[in-house]
Amino acid sequence: MASQPPPIGARQSPLYRAFGDRIFLAALLLFGLIVIGIVILMGWQLAAGGSQAFAQFGLLGFLGGVTWDPVADIYGAWPFIIGTLITSLAAIVLAFFPAIAVAIYAVEYAPRWLGSILQYALELLAALPSVIYGLWGLLVLAPILRSQQQSIVTWALENQQDWLLAILGPPIGFGMTTAVIVLAVMVIPYAASLAKDSIALVPGAQREAAYALGATKWEVIKNAVLPYAKGGILAGIILGFTRALGETMAVVMVIGNNNNLPFTLFGSATTIPASIINEFGEAMDLKLSALLALGFVLFIMSGLMNLLAAWIVKRMSVEGRL
């Protein structure tokens, strides 16, 4: 800490000497430490709250257990973990190409006015509360998907495609497919804005060099721009995935909340956040502990993915700036 020399002819309160700076910095540090403490407290509280469930079933027994039966007081996390991973992965796969496309189009092709409209649209998509996506998914999207699913299942029934029926599951409109579509819409802005930023950071000389070699516009993008921006694109994809992992309200409203494996394409399923909301109401003792333990699992999953994305962004910026 570089302290200032005391003012000449000091007549002020001691606050105007090094003492004041020390108090100020100490106050800032206190607040900073509180912020750090919050995250540590989160991890600690969730682990402590879940310790009863971890102790009862063993760490692996809890993580790998496929039964979630509040009546028998047996709790296993596997259906929730697998449901979370499948919906989030599927959402990010679905979101990948549109997100990259809008990022490329906004930076490379769109005139300035259209670019800023797209930018604002992405900001709006990210800003809309997740309950509103849930409401839309529940009351608008699910009925549409239900009729589509019913016609597909009817077709499969008429043609005796039993294997297909087993994959499709009941066409109720609330389930995996609906949740994945809603999630994909919600994660696109996250993936797209990071991709957009990193594409915009690619130096103009990189593009000009490729043009000078006779490349078409698409070849410039494919060979000169995208390889340069791939770190940011990857980080955006991971951030989008992380966002999907923890998405709660939109998912719980449309996924149907069923924790019996195996999950089917159209049939209802569940995720960790959805089940925490859904089972919370009547939770006591061991069940509450199991829910907090689920929260801890989500904390670890989401935390690791966040750190991974941050690490990629950092590495990219060190290499990418020059």
Binding site: G32, V39, V102, S130, M249, L292
Partner: protein, 290 residues
Amino acid sequence: MTPPSSIASVIPKGGNLRIRRVWNSVMLVLLVLGSIVVVSPLIAVLGAVLVNGLATINWAFLTQEFRPVTEGGGGVWHAIVGTLLMNLLALLIGGLLGFAGGVLLSEYPDHPINPYLRTISDLLNGLPALLKGLVIYAIIVLPTGMFSGYAGALALAIILTPIVLRATEGVLQLVPWSVREAGLALGLPRWRVIISLVIPAATAGVVTGLMLGFARAAGEAAPLYFTAGGSQFLNFNLGQQTESLALTIFKYANEPSVLRQEQAWGAALILTIMVLIASLLARWATRKYN
């Protein structure tokens, strides 16, 4: 990064220019289609909220409290009050924490704690809001045995903090170092330079951070589910269970009554307008600052 030689090797030599041009146009069409795919759900969601919401909202809906469906269903005044009160308190707490953290990161760039603070703050920002509610549930609601608006506000404050923190840091860094040097040259101590010179120069940016935080926190329902608990009554006392618009939407949407579902759309429109105003204010403040 990519040396030019690798580009040259990828681009086919000689003829086939026509195929490459066709490919060029095909990709442009695909990119435009992809952009339309991104924008159309936004229009679909906003359109649904606007159309259904406008059909529901009237003066009574805005000013009445909860009433049973048999008595006309009432309105969402209690939820609007709850949302604003909890977010106000959250803005105070989270704003202070985030602001102080942002000042630390920007004004003491060499402090050894900064890399940790920056990483942890970003991590906190990325962690699911649900978990922020769950931890407040574990440390406050469970020991005291009751849901309260204060617990809800604390959960929202945790959501706000990292957003305000990074926004504050970013905007303070835009203030040129010469401003600080001028203050220091006058013999002012560092804290006085920060409070009287740096922060006033960045007020608009700090407002942006607060508005962005509000836009995010106001729409959160999941953390309030465990903390504020929801309520059917109008109260101005955060010591009791408190309703929020986001919670109302969640509860009403899942009710079988058509009236309740319409009210969910109405509440969604109000919430959307709140969030839009906050993010427009944030945008406007940034633009003014630049």
